[in-house]
């Protein structure tokens, strides 16, 4: 999939557990786990908004477009 979810990295930076995030955003742990593992097919704006609010980040910090050329690594490193 060309859109990668980097929720685990953001969570690690914030030293927050997935359970805590699930309680804060009101999304079940199972659904957040689906999102984190990249199995989700779509994300609602309302979920994205709640995630950005609680993690104090931008959508681009959670979602990364992977075009397969290696540019993603550079973006992620930045």
């Amino acid at each position: 999939m060309s859109i990668r979810v980097t929720l685990d990295r953001v969570l690690m930076d914030r030293r927050m557990s997935l359970t805590e995030l699930s309680e804060r955003v009101g999304v079940t742990l199972a659904n957040l786990s689906i999102l984190k593992t990249g199995k989700a097919k779509a994300i609602r704006f309302s979920t994205l908004e709640a995630l950005c609010r609680e993690l104090e980040c931008q959508p681009g910090d959670i979602l990364i477009y992977d075009n397969g050329s290696g540019d993603t690594k550079m973006i992620a490193a930045e």
């Binding site: 689906i34 199995k39 609602r44």
Partner: protein
């Protein structure tokens, strides 16, 4: 509903076996020269009677398993409904198989009629185009496609966070 389908299925199976046996015996007796009065079968002395018996026998051989097959598929669809989740991709396949079964029965019916018409040239065999059945087949194919798309959309919705 499932009970009704089961009743229809067993009714088709039992009456089918009786009908096929009856017609087969009638045909056998006709060719063997056995009098058919005891069986209450009236067969005309010309080819028309034989053609009717053969078409009845072949029709039974094709239609009875076909009806049972359709009933089995319907029961499986109904069992998913009873479990509370009928919107599964398997049901789209089942609807397609029902449509295919009806289509095959119709085509075989035409093949039998045409073949009998060619073998017994003096027999009264008429080829009727059953528009309602063909419309049902088309409706079932469309419904199966709609069902398939519906289950796909539901799966997508399920994986939307």
């Amino acid at each position: 509903m499932s009970v009704l389908v089961t009743i229809v299925m067993w009714f088709a199976a039992i009456t089918g076996v009786i009908f096929i046996s009856y017609t087969a015996y009638g045909l056998f007796a006709y060719f063997s020269g056995i009098p058919l009065d005891s069986l209450n079968i009236e067969v005309a002395e010309d080819n028309n009677g034989v053609a009717k018996l053969i078409s009845g026998l072949l029709g039974g051989i094709v239609a009875i398993p076909g009806i049972i097959y359709v009933c089995v598929q319907l029961r499986r669809i109904l069992s998913t409904l009873a479990k509370g989740d009928p919107f599964v991709p398997e049901n789209a396949g089942r609807l397609t198989r029902i449509a295919m079964a009806i289509l095959v029965m119709q085509v075989l019916k035409y093949v039998v009629v045409v073949c009998l018409g060619m073998i017994f040239s003096d027999a009264e065999v008429t080829l009727r185009l059953d528009l309602i059945t063909w419309a049902s087949v088309a409706a079932l194919f469309i419904l199966a496609q709609v069902f398939r798309e519906g289950t796909r959309l539901r799966d997508e919705e399920k994986m939307t966070i």
